[in-house]
Symmetry: D2
Subunit: 358 residues, 4 copies
């Protein structure tokens, strides 16, 4: 399967960091959707590199050219392919990396899997850059969901040991989610956000990098979405979220903390709020038996610190078959977490849309 995901919506992704273009083909979209190009471009802009001091210096316009599937501004129902040209590539930066395996990167296992033929420049198909087409596809999915009253938003829950506030899992509003989208660092608590920013700039100065946690919420989703046994909401979202480079963990609702509760605490009791069925707590993150229960869906994803750092590292040269030192040059993010926020939103939208269209 590799480059293809989905059942009703099928996305097929392509591209390498320093190749001609990256892109995605989306099959199974409903016809007649009047594309909100402004919303799409805003999303692309939020992910794009070179927009802030806390991201990489590589500057890419990341304008999507739509090749198919749209006629007179609306989706035709035929596959919609969008591509993004690579422009600001400095491939010479990567010449050493053919043989020197960067720790924490895909270099070594990819070399084994693809027998040395993978495009190693800028990480090739494993570059975080390949998430740009996901954001494009996700923006379309988000628009379709928005028209059904479903809103998705994420924020930086933590950078290293600096914590943002948490979503209130019982009530998440469209306004709250929209408020997150204005800044280069989506947080609920701006004071904490400033501390994060300082920490990131400090790490940048040290030639090091930081990781963090992204918390994502899906509000307005009705009960009954999800397709167990195998395609539960959790399985579907986890599958997609782990496709985002650098993600090493995911937890829904109370997540790992639920293991410290007793059943009588963890179970979310039902009550009637007028005619509406709600739960008094939301430890299950809006999902029971793999199906949405009408409460907000909430999950957190762990994003590791950027692997590419300027600090000298121990590694091996697989050609000379000996140990060596490596100092990664090139332009890299000191912290990828803030740019991952919009990618997590995007894949969540794709996952939920696919489940809803079944």
């Amino acid at each position: 399967m590799s480059g293809v995901w989905g059942n009703k919506i099928q996305i097929s992704i392509f591209g390498e960091s320093h190749g001609n273009a990256i892109g995605i083909n989306i099959s199974g979209l409903p016809s007649g959707v009047l594309l909100d190009m402004e919303a799409i471009n805003e999303k692309m802009e939020r992910r794009a590199p070179g927009r802030s001091k806390i991201s990489t210096a590589r500057s890419e316009a990341d304008k999507v050219e739509i090749l198919s599937g749209v006629f007179e501004g609306r989706t035709t129902g035929a596959p919609l392919c969008g591509i993004i040209r690579n422009s600001d590539t400095r491939s010479q930066d990567y010449s050493k990396l053919k043989d020197l395996m960067r720790p924490g990167h895909s270099d070594y296992p990819a070399k084994i899997k693809y027998q040395g033929f993978n495009d190693y420049r800028g990480g090739g198909h494993f570059s975080g850059r390949i998430t740009a087409p996901l954001v494009f596809a996700g923006a379309i999915a988000e628009q379709i969901l928005r028209e059904k009253g479903i809103y998705i938003g994420a924020h930086v829950k933590s950078i290293n040991n600096i914590e943002d506030d948490s979503f209130n899992p019982l009530e998440i509003t469209k306004e709250q989610l929209n408020s997150l989208k204005g800044s280069d660092l989506s947080v609920l608590n701006n004071e904490q956000g400033e501390k994060m920013r300082e920490l990131i700039l400090q790490a940048k100065k040290e030639g090091d990098s930081l990781g963090g946690v992204v918390e994502c919420a899906i509000a307005g989703i009705p009960a009954g979405v999800g397709d167990p046994f195998f395609d539960s909401v959790e399985s579907t979202l986890a599958h997609l979220v782990f496709s985002v480079p650098a993600v090493k963990g995911i937890e829904f609702g109370a997540g790992f903390d639920i293991t410290k509760m007793k059943g009588s605490e963890a179970n979310d009791s039902y009550y009637y709020d007028g005619d509406e069925i709600k739960t008094k707590t939301n430890n299950n993150g809006g999902i029971l038996g793999g199906i949405s229960n009408g409460m907000p869906i909430i999950f957190r994803a762990a994003v590791k610190p950027t692997s590419s750092i300027i600090k000298v590292q121990d590694t091996i040269d697989v050609n000379k078959k000996q140990e060596d030192k490596l100092q990664v040059v090139g332009r890299h993010d000191p912290c990828i977490v803030s740019r991952a926020v919009v990618v997590i939103e995007a894949v969540s939208a794709l996952g939920i849309l696919d489940l809803m269209l079944r």
Copy 2:
């Protein structure tokens, strides 16, 4: 997709807790595998209910009848279907549950999704009982992997706040993994195991339940397994692990803790151990870029406390459309974690085998 998972190996699961039988059809198995029925039965026995004071009192033989795909003891290459008859069902215990939604259970969202036609007795298709066929299929997958030198084992990493030791992520042996399989509570540190047991029996007495964490290791796996962009090792395993009822989180390697490290700490440096390429740390849990790097694969899954508890809970009656109290009768596990261990092993084997056969 719902009941079907996989690409090279395709499993198709069926069954309800109180129906005639549960089972699984496995398509795509290699031909000629001499089934190790003893190993399969041992696995089934480890998951089966009624084997210990810390599990449910429901007693099921859980003997698998193989209907197809085996001739003269060996796989034929044709689909292999195994079924398990349900016998010790007490469906009358569940008569109330048609309208009273059990908190923490699939009852309410399933009722919405299936318009009230789902078999609610014992949780129906959402029962933990449906993991028995997964264990059967996983046992076959594990055997095939074992013959390639790949070993899978899991232990109870924690029950509530009692912690077992952790795997050493740099070196996990076949012997260590095998040693975990003798007890009703797989732990590395038996003293801690005894404390867990006490805590579980205490919760049982209180009519309450406990959750915990399962840690799983895959040793002997070569570099190069995994099929990104979408079918990374993480996506594949997470997809399957979240199909196991009660799982609410998964993390690979250092997992959420990696977000507190700097890049220079998180990156696993390479070195040569003789001719073999190894890493000095294993914060990435044996996976980089979604592909195995030759180090042991390690992950942890969060298992919530059993939803069915004897304690009285607040809930709603969806027929009368009013709030009500619920006391779940029936026979339930005070803690499902120990029985989940073998299920986590099983789905891991299925995931890895599918990726390896691609």
Copy 3:
């Protein structure tokens, strides 16, 4: 994929001719369907062996045991698995066939593909017997379609050089389709049917076998069903129909004869029949651009003569690596076409239902 087919409806088939049981697991069925067991059994009866002089002497009850997915007579929405026990097996008849490759059968390529581990008794997984579960699944699909006003029926269009009448492709009624289901030889013209019967009995006497053509119609299908580019109605039905053993050709509408028409003859002109849009001819068999156009869907499938014949044949012994003579013993159909009718109906129902549920 092998044993699994489908997108919304996913069927997973299993079984060998002389194994314990054959069956099918159907995932993705809507919940709440009150199963018409009488209609299902009638279908099973029409396919079952030993019902007539023109079929094999092997006698099987072919009663389906439903293991899951049905509660209080209705589908639950969970996977529905049905199995059929094999009973009247005479495996000793097949002992010679381990090494002597039957011409026209799967024996030789299956031996290569499965490295000699395939169950060769009675053709194993390649036996026409494996179509019984397809008929079961198809009967359920047909019921669901019937409730939407869609009717499927097939007849024996020809046996060797004896031709039945053809469907009128412009008007096919529910009554006409139902009238086909009473006999062991579904034909529109009973006189021709009697000639077919005689020819079959003659071939039986000679220890030889006959082939023929099955014509199938799908009436009442609305315009707009089909999922190009790749999942056109033709691709979907052809995929399934070629899964039926012994089928070697399929054609839609005028089929191969359309190649002898000019465009001005082949094009089906539109007109208004009241408010309804119809075509004056139906050379395209109700399908344009891979999508139904509201006219009856019509196709014909070529069924080869039964490979198993009593007449002595030249073949090879792959063990001794030498040429040999073979006289197939065992009980076989002198002509499989009449029993294939109901199988073709079944797979058509599955294909159309899957497309409609997308």
Copy 4:
């Protein structure tokens, strides 16, 4: 599924006749294949329009731009996306077709399915033009097969009632297949080819169109390819061949004629040709039980006459809801069969490669 096909190789197609570009993303290709761009371009050229008097006057360079998946001339193992810009579009020709449904075309059912939002210009996604990306993908697949000693070639078996010679199903050589590739009309018998050409030009003069049959052979394929139950060679090839616009029938080996043979005639007897196992006849077209038996695979596809003709036709105006006359302007092929040859070869290569890589 719609725009995505395949299991090991997954192709995802996109494009509309008058949109920005058409293309295909190919996932799952082996890494390290040194692309034979000359062979690819030759294939593209054979399909391209405007190359001959017997094809459409629309002239397109049909140069593929490879966006990804190739580095230093070799496949990287990452998805390979190729696009072809549309240039010679005359969209104004199609303005009338928004409401006037062309008989024999997808116009009407597509309008229903996509609720009027489909791009009707030039047939949109239903245009024969969308086969260009298939030819590109197929050319790569063919190259990979060629390196395994497998050759694919097709010829025009008939145009209307003019018949070419047939392949000898017992022996098809690489040289014979290569010899077919030089002309704008691939035939075995050039005299018959000239008669076909005259008939086509005659139809062109009359403003009418012709259909025909394409015969395709796959030589050098080993025994054991195919993945029953559902993914037999026949199902796989038929699925793909029916995706090619205008195909209305397919038959393997003796096809529909096998229904007129007795079992004793139809069965292909085995013999040893030295160490090699062969059959004395090849009525089954190299496929038994859905698996290749080592003999050449042979099939024929029925291609209907081009639907777009200059002659006046009866049709309806779905906007005015009344009957009307239609004269299709625009540039069209008087006969698509000769250009379909290379498309049939292409999809056959894709089907066989996918089955071989499993």
